[in-house]
């Protein structure tokens, strides 16, 4: 089977543009939406996968699938939920493929050479949180991140994770207790107690 050449693409580009590249948004709308959501989505993907490079890849894949979905959204909020749902499914697929949890928590961001003791303590807290998040089940991780980091409502979380809104509260409570247990474990290992 031969490879598709540049001349093929050039020859087929006009027809493709008409028939196949029917993106759900035009360029201006996409760019505005991307500016509004990309950093949040990257943060979500980075914390869900524990891998910055993978988060970069999945970010573009999520936008591509959104554009190719052909779904019609009556509000940007719906489109945003749909984007996060795509991202969640991508992370789930990735997790199934790897069948392992992130082995080490994401390092690096926000932890560059703290200037004083307070900054060092905050960086250490963040590192503990990432470590604990990485040890949680993917669904618990997503629940906690969406609810407490991004401040999403139960209904929004339900849309993103494909769960009923009514089931979010107990699931969230259990996930929180698991995270709290992991954090206390990491604190007792480190010999410190963090205060809110």
């Amino acid at each position: 089977m031969r490879d598709v050449t540049v001349s093929d693409i050039e020859r087929l580009a006009p027809a493709a543009a008409e028939r196949d590249a029917v993106f759900e948004m035009d360029e201006d709308a996409f760019r505005a939406f991307y500016e509004h959501t990309s950093r949040q989505l990257w943060a979500y993907l980075a914390r869900m996968t524990g891998d910055r490079a993978l988060a970069d890849d999945l970010l573009q894949e999520a936008y591509y699938r959104l554009l190719r979905a052909g779904a019609v959204f009556d509000a940007d909020a719906h489109r945003r939920h749909y984007l996060f749902r795509i991202a969640t499914n991508l992370v789930r697929d990735q997790h199934r493929r790897r069948r392992t949890r992130p082995e080490s928590p994401l390092q690096g961001d926000g932890d560059d050479l703290p200037g004083d003791a307070m900054a060092a303590a905050r960086a250490e807290h963040r590192s503990e949180v990432r470590g604990a998040l990485a040890r949680l089940r993917p669904r618990d991780r997503a629940l906690l991140w969406l609810a407490y980091a991004q401040g999403a409502s139960h209904r929004e979380i339900g849309h993103v994770l494909g769960l009923k809104a009514a089931s979010i509260k107990p699931l969230l409570h259990r996930a929180r207790q698991r995270l709290s247990g992991l954090l206390q474990g990491s604190v007792s290992k480190g010999g410190r107690r963090a205060s809110p």
Binding site: M1, A21, K169
Partner: protein, 172 residues
Amino acid sequence: MRHPECDREAEVLEALQISAWPDCCADHLRLHVASCRSCTELADIVVRLFDDYRAALRDARVPSSAAVWWRLQMRARQEAARRATRPIAVLQGVALACAAGLLAAAIGLSAPAWRRFAGSLAGWGAGVAATIPSMAWGDVQMFSPLGLSVALTAMLLFVAMSVAVYFAVSEK
């Protein structure tokens, strides 16, 4: 270390998310959080996660929207081109499969003739070695005309198919 949910969690969560905890929060809520295990746990986790979220947002290195749009457009076009050339590739595959099938059939049909030919070659070689001075060409038994024609047809067919596939696959 299970403990029941607190009825005031929603109130505490709202205060944590919209105000600077604990400085800009009502005293009664601060006192409640201090005395409630569930709300203390909630406050601890929300503050930590939100801090990590802000750090992640600050350090997110996402490509520009223009670059992403361009890449996604290119990818859509490549996929469209791939879809458009797929039927050609399928036809090529079918042609190759037909050629392989015909070749196999031809080889199968001509196998007895080939066997006879190989046997006669072996016999001829032995005869030549033994009776070089008095070699009689009429003794050499060649394979049948039918087998020869089938084998030749198969070879011609194979060559013709190869040439056809080459022209179909080549760019020009």
